[in-house]
């Protein structure tokens, strides 16, 4: 109760404060994981900060505390003339669809889901391509011949990560075993590091020595337990290599920041388009992370193999299976 009151109060104040700006301000609506989840939402935040730094145009943002606030927040943004209004996360789709219909002249964008309306830009990523690469790296780095995957909520999107990962592992060495677990089936699965950690321990005890986390804040538990047990974790969405330096093999980066930045820039430059934007390796939408924290783990051989596979995926020589296309994973 208290939370709702405080949130709605702060929304009213926030909205009143920023109504008079020259350029239309973009607005950003985070998903339940929260702005600083060290992962997906935080990437969106960074993209917007970059836009702000370059254009000196401020932006508006809102972190929802419960599902009911999605529509309310979007409608508020729309009424105040924010443009574009960017919603982060697949679970915003229904709300975006509804509000975008109510405001057909406003520009909306949604990340991770397709909303088929002319005034909505649907930004989706080829997570399977990035996951393929980290799967390949995991397979090369594994000494036990067993690797793991811990997903957040059991939804097709996360299955897509898993499928690309498995394909990458198997393409490198078909004999490697891949353990797959999901934290849960509800939204709480994104914020349960304890469960994520237990699943990781369970995989490690079965012999896995590299575990890929695609589980939002639950993934923090995965990386922590992997590091604690002297094994390797793989981060997701943002570059998470710095969380446990030398213990995070790499991160599958999903450049939500790039997509968010571009959406805001396009509106400012008058180059806005609706429709579906699919960002893969070719467009720099996904990638694997290499920095000071993990360079000791990535041998020249691994790097060469990853670079080769990346080039092959871009050229079309390697076809990475998209789980969403047929809802099955052939591996």
């Amino acid at each position: 109760m208290l939370r709702t009151t405080i949130v709605s109060l702060s929304m009213v104040l926030g909205l009143a404060g920023a109504a008079f700006a020259a350029d239309a301000q973009p607005a950003l609506l985070y998903d339940v994981g929260g702005k600083f989840d060290k992962s997906f939402n935080e990437a969106a935040y960074r993209g917007m900060e970059k836009f702000k730094a370059e254009t000196k145009i401020d932006y508006r943002e809102f972190e929802i505390q419960n599902d009911a606030q999605r529509e309310q927040a979007l409608r508020n943004f729309a009424k105040k003339g924010n443009s574009p209004i960017i919603a982060i996360g697949f679970s915003q789709a229904a709300a975006v669809e509804k509000v975008a219909k109510e405001f057909p002249d406003q520009k909306f964008a949604i990340v991770d889901m397709v909303v088929d309306l002319p005034n909505v830009r649907s930004i989706v990523f080829k997570e399977e391509e990035g996951s393929f690469l980290v799967g390949l790296i995991a397979a090369k780095a594994s000494k036990t011949g067993k690797v793991g995957f811990v997903g957040g909520m059991d939804i097709p999107l996360i299955r897509k990560f898993a499928c690309g990962y498995v394909q990458g592992v198997k393409a490198t060495d078909p004999k490697i075993t891949v353990f797959q677990n999901m934290v849960g089936t509800t939204g709480a699965a994104w914020t349960d590091p304890v469960k994520g950690g237990e699943l990781t321990i369970s995989q490690i005890e079965q012999g896995a020595d590299v575990v890929y986390a695609a589980a939002g804040a639950s993934g923090l538990g995965v990386l922590q337990k992997a590091a604690e047990k002297g094994k390797l974790g793989i981060g997701v969405d943002s570059n998470q290599n710095h969380l446990y330096p030398g213990k995070v093999l790499t991160s599958m980066m999903k450049r939500v920041d790039v997509a968010v930045y571009k959406a805001a820039m396009d509106v400012k430059d008058g180059k806005w388009t609706g429709g579906i934007n699919v960002l893969g390796l070719k467009d720099g939408g996904v990638d694997w992370a290499l920095d000071d924290n993990n360079k000791s783990l990535i041998t020249p051989e691994i790097k060469a193999a990853a670079d080769q596979a990346k080039a092959d995926i871009i050229s079309g020589k390697i076809q990475v299976h998209d789980y969403m296309a047929d809802k099955t994973c052939p591996f």
């Binding site: 109760m1 208290l2 939370r3 405080i6 994981g33 929260g34 702005k35 600083f36 989840d37 060290k38 939402n41 972190e63 505390q65 059991d154 353990f179 797959q180 677990n181 999901m182 849960g184 089936t185 709480a188 914020t191 349960d192 590091p193 304890v194 469960k195 950690g197 237990e198 699943l199 321990i201 369970s202 005890e205 804040a217 923090l220 538990g221 922590q224 604690e228 969380l243």
Partner: protein, 325 residues
């Protein structure tokens, strides 16, 4: 057979780790309800404690300081509950629910205001956490003792100090309740407060002591979640454990050793669910992940409905004490 042991022993180890927050919360409830104060706010107290542990351990760099802070916060919440339900004879359920709401909202709000990480506390270094303790001989036990060694390594050894404290708490609680004067009075005040009052002992004082003990235990449970099992506080990280602990308490008929067994059972179901996910079972094949995740709840309901016998709560439990005039 070896294969079976290799699979089941780590699951038991995992069950021990997962049952600890339940165990602390369940015993907190046990003390409170045995004294006649129903405590539905276990969840909120653990959550508040977890937040305090995460925040204080971060600022002081000391896990012990985190534990102390967590216990302090949890006792404060207990006293709020006591003040409303003992001193002012308010509805104990309403007061407990209020504590849950307060803790859930306040931890997220303060966490966001102080650290700006979406209600989380900053990640802790290992030195500020309760780390697993390896018992002597762990390195060689596996080789020398076979399956017994495996059990020793995975189940007996390798837990943080709080885990061992939780198991020490069980016989101590039994002893306090059954063999001390304080325990006798505590049980009496939950069954027949008038008799206790007639004997010239303060009902309110005893009940306050009970909720304070509950606060201490919830504090330990929250600390375990935030800085032993994880390395930070995450919003709403108790995830219903306080309520499962209450179910365990009813299931165990408010008795210490049964309570421990029930908490271990619930922990085991949780652990088995995690382990069996994605593993094909003989004759059935691959079972959807949802089945395993629902299993603890289904079993809880079945057990509660069918096999529990008669659960008789302390007679005066939930009834505010009013002196006859």
């Amino acid at each position: 057979m070896t294969e079976f042991f290799d699979m089941i022993i780590p699951v038991i180890g995992s069950a021990v780790r997962l049952s600890i927050p339940l165990l602390f919360a369940c015993f907190a409830g046990l003390f409170s309800e045995r004294s006649g104060v129903v405590d539905i706010g276990l969840e909120g107290k653990m959550l508040g404690a977890a937040f305090a542990a995460g925040a204080i351990a971060y600022h002081t760099g000391s896990a012990t300081a985190g534990l102390m802070g967590a216990i302090f916060v949890s006792i404060l919440l207990s006293l709020v509950h006591g003040f409303a339900s003992i001193t002012h004879r308010g509805n104990q359920i309403v007061s407990g629910v209020a504590i849950n709401f307060l803790a859930s909202g306040l931890t997220a709000l303060l966490g966001q205001a102080w650290y700006g990480e979406g209600g989380r506390t900053p990640q802790l270094p290992d030195s500020a956490r309760f780390m697993p303790i390896d018992w002597p001989g762990v390195a060689t036990a596996r080789v020398n003792l076979g399956e017994l060694g495996n059990f020793y390594v995975n189940v007996i050894s390798g837990h943080s100090i709080l885990v061992y404290a939780a198991f020490v708490m069980v016989p101590v609680t039994w002893w306090v309740l059954q063999r001390t004067r304080f325990g006798l009075r505590l049980r009496a005040v939950g069954e027949n407060p008038h008799a206790v009052d007639t004997a010239g002992i303060s009902v309110a004082l005893l009940r306050y002591l009970a909720v304070i003990i509950a606060g201490v235990l919830c504090g330990a449970g929250g600390t375990y979640l935030a800085i032993a099992q994880s390395s930070e506080f995450v919003r709403d990280m108790t995830a219903g454990k306080g309520f499962i602990a209450l179910a365990a308490l009813v299931f165990a008929k408010w008795r210490p050793f049964s309570a421990m067994a029930t908490c271990l059972l619930f922990g085991f179901l949780d652990a088995a669910g995690s382990r069996l996910q994605g593993t094909p079972l003989p004759f059935i094949g691959q079972v959807p992940v949802q089945v395993f995740q629902a299993l603890p709840y289904i079993l809880t309901v079945v057990l509660l409905a069918g096999f529990i016998g008669k659960a008789i709560p302390p007679k005066a439990s939930g009834v505010p004490y009013t002196k006859d005039r």
